[in-house]
């Protein structure tokens, strides 16, 4: 009978181990541990019918938990109703950073505004928390002076510099900056069809000289800036 019970324990552990990551993050290995304790107990108190109920409970709950996790993710994604809005975290193994600007960690946040987006980039570089100046992207194709959020000139930006953005399709935003007819920098932001991946390609001239970046970001779910219910 010991072999029978240890076999049941093994099957139980495998089923419990198959539960979604999100479930296991909250419950830890509690579900697996509980099996070790309750399988002999259920066998003693309720016999085969009890064990059948226990396994049926696991087998039914498993797809339900996956459905629930999937529904929650979908809700988080569709909550904004905007493909870009949200927080994105760089996948450094899939990104090619310019050595001068390579961060250890990088995040981007797109906030939808009345006329476009407010873009904030932040991360960790050389062990220090860093954040870029928030940038407004208004993808209507019009050229506007580069100013800060209060409408004041931005230090380090040549006088007369202009910025403009376009959105050729719902998944793509292009932004550029120029001064006296010369391109200072340009970037393309493309969200994947499933809304989970943001690919950013930027090039231009920064404070440390020319740069070229191709970075891949994944959506942070749930969004740390949106209160969760």
């Amino acid at each position: 009978m010991n072999n029978w019970l240890s076999g049941c324990n093994q099957i139980y552990r495998r089923l419990a181990h198959a539960f979604p990551h999100e479930f296991r993050m909250v419950c830890g290995d509690g579900l697996e541990q509980l099996g070790v304790d309750v399988i002999p107990l259920i066998w003693r108190e309720q016999g085969v019918p009890g064990l059948l109920c226990c396994f049926a409970d696991l087998a039914l709950r498993l797809p339900l938990e996956y459905l629930s996790t999937w529904a929650r993710k979908m809700r988080d994604i569709t909550m904004t109703g905007d493909l870009f809005e949200g927080t994105w975290k760089a996948k450094n193994d899939e990104s090619q950073w310019d050595p001068k600007y390579a961060p250890e960690q990088a995040c981007m946040r797109f906030e939808a505004t009345d006329d476009g987006y407010l873009l904030v980039a932040y991360g960790i570089k050389d062990g220090q928390a860093v954040a870029e100046r928030p940038t407004r992207i208004i993808p209507d194709g019009r050229r506007r002076p580069i100013v800060d959020l209060n409408g004041r000139p931005v230090p380090g930006v040549p006088p007369g510099a202009l910025t403009f953005g376009t959105q050729p399709d719902p998944h793509t935003i292009e932004a550029s900056a120029e001064a006296n007819g010369n391109v200072l920098g340009k970037g393309t932001y493309v969200v994947s069809a499933d809304g989970q991946t943001l690919t950013v390609t930027t090039e231009g001239v920064g404070l440390k000289g020319p740069f070229k970046v191709h970075a891949v970001f994944e959506r942070v779910v749930p969004d740390p800036f949106v209160p969760q219910s």
Binding site: F19, F23, C27, G30, Q33, L34, E45, D57, L58, R61
Partner: protein, 118 residues
């Protein structure tokens, strides 16, 4: 995080109520909750493991319970286990659900008394 209205949880799911009642005395781990419910209901209610942990996860998500950082005295502690305890919202919800059930029983008793008189 927006504060939730305890009334919005009523009527409370039976499994949730059983778990919350188990935690009224203090923190408890999953196995302890399962055994307590089994004994308290004279073996009528068995919270099977996946149902129990599914409910615990949802109770945590809804802010009714939290994982307790405090451990019992070493002689009573089982280091493998996670302990859970009621939040103030959880306590309030238990109180409201108990009151709701008491009111229901009072109505039922009143009806029976009327029936007996007639």
């Amino acid at each position: 995080m927006p504060r939730k209205n305890p009334e919005s949880f009523l009527p409370l799911k039976s499994n949730w109520f059983q778990i919350l009642v188990s935690l009224v005395d203090g923190e408890q781990h999953g196995y302890g909750i399962m055994q307590e419910v089994w004994e308290r209901t004279d073996g009528k209610v068995r919270l099977w493991p996946a149902t129990l942990y599914g409910s615990l996860k949802r109770l945590i998500d809804n802010g009714l319970i939290v994982e307790s950082g405090e451990r019992p005295a070493p002689e009573f502690d089982d280091s493998r286990r996670r302990y859970y305890k009621l939040t103030s919202l959880g306590k309030r919800v238990v109180d409201l659900e108990s009151q709701r059930l008491r009111d229901l029983v009072r109505i039922l008793d009143a009806k029976r008394r009327r029936e007996a008189r007639s």
